[in-house]
């Protein structure tokens, strides 16, 4: 390998600046969106505007997910291109792990809870 190709090679691997930067307008847009996405769920719960608790719970969870995506894009500058896509790969892997851990725990433990014999019945079984 000659020194010429080496220099060209080093240039190809200019990793340093591959992450995205925000601008004033993207930061402000992200901020306004998050204020709205925070205020609505608080208002829904505090005023009880929706008819049932189940619907309110579902709606505020949807707002949380949307706000997390807004933060990821406008504050954490997530995109598929940064670090040659490796940040996105790490994020997808983490989301998969989080979903397995959360849904698995809740599912298994709720089954355990409903299948477990209550304490007072167990003491009578001697």
């Amino acid at each position: 390998m000659s020194t010429d190709t080496r220099a060209a090679h080093a240039d190809d691997h200019h990793h340093g600046d591959s992450h995205a930067h925000g601008t004033f307008s993207t930061y402000m847009l992200g901020f306004v969106l998050s204020v709205v996405l925070t205020a609505i769920p608080f208002w829904l719960v505090m005023s009880g505007a929706l008819p049932s608790k189940q619907i309110t719970a579902l709606v505020i969870m949807v707002f949380a997910v949307v706000q997390i995506v807004v933060h990821m894009i406008y504050f954490l500058h997530m995109n598929t291109a940064s670090e040659n896509g490796w940040t996105m790969m790490a994020l997808i892997f983490t989301i998969v792990m989080v979903v397995i851990a959360l849904s698995g725990s809740l599912w298994v433990m709720s089954h355990l809870n409903s299948n477990m014999m209550p304490m007072h019945e167990m003491t009578g079984m001697k």
């Binding site: 691997h13 925000g22 925070t38 719970a57 505020i60 990821m72 983490t94 725990s105």
Partner: protein
């Protein structure tokens, strides 16, 4: 990463690099820090799962409805949200190489963070004063662990913020300091993302329950 297949002088293809090519200092810091944040994310996921499982076990003690003051939580949330945007402004002024303005925005961010921690500690003190200690019920153990871990992260972020302000004061916005400020920016915004989960699943759903 596109690694072109290179060939030796005799024309045989070479599929690997014989020796590591030089990298600029800190070129992989942001990716490494991102992977740290993802592992931190797993810690919080487990704490959320624990809270999800135990969150309804009050042991005849106080329930979220009796304990949480949503007005206070709303104020706290806005503190963290405001600190996120002011950190964003610090990053923008950093990119324009304005040292003094960057320091001002960092200081404002720190004050909002301090307000957040202050309000949270007041809330904790109030709860403990009413007998809602972590020992009281499984719900309260899970609550204090989850929210406390987040608060601890924010406190560490504050210490880091002050450290970086001293660094910037001493050495200016050199390349290393820019890199550090960028890492803290990711950390700070990440904590805001975790807080979205906390106020939704712990406070709002808790009061709804």
């Amino acid at each position: 990463m596109t690694v072109a297949v290179q060939s030796t002088q005799s024309g045989e293809p070479v599929f690997y690099l014989a020796d590591e090519h030089p990298h600029p200092e800190g070129y992989s810091t942001s990716l490494g820090f991102w992977i740290y944040l993802m592992s931190d994310c797993l810690i919080f996921a487990i704490l959320f799962a624990t809270f999800g499982v135990l969150g309804g076990n009050y042991a005849a003690g106080p329930a979220p409805k009796d304990l949480f003051d949503l007005n206070l939580v709303a104020v706290n949330t806005s503190m963290l949200l405001l600190s996120s945007i002011t950190y964003g402004f610090a990053m923008l002024t950093m990119q324009q190489n304005k040292v003094a303005q960057t320091q001002v925005w960092l200081a404002i961010t720190g004050l909002f963070g301090l307000a957040f921690i202050g309000i949270e500690l007041t809330e904790f003190a109030h709860m403990i004063h009413e007998g809602a200690t972590p020992q009281r019920s499984a719900f309260l153990s899970a609550f204090f662990t989850l929210v406390g871990t987040h608060g601890l992260h924010v406190s560490c972020g504050l210490i880091w913020l002050v450290t970086l302000m001293v660094q910037v004061q001493k050495f200016g916005l050199i390349e290393a300091n820019r890199r550090r400020l960028m890492c803290l920016s990711m950390f700070w915004h990440f904590l805001d993302v975790v807080w979205i989960g906390v106020f939704t699943f712990v406070y709002l759903l808790g009061v709804l329950r």
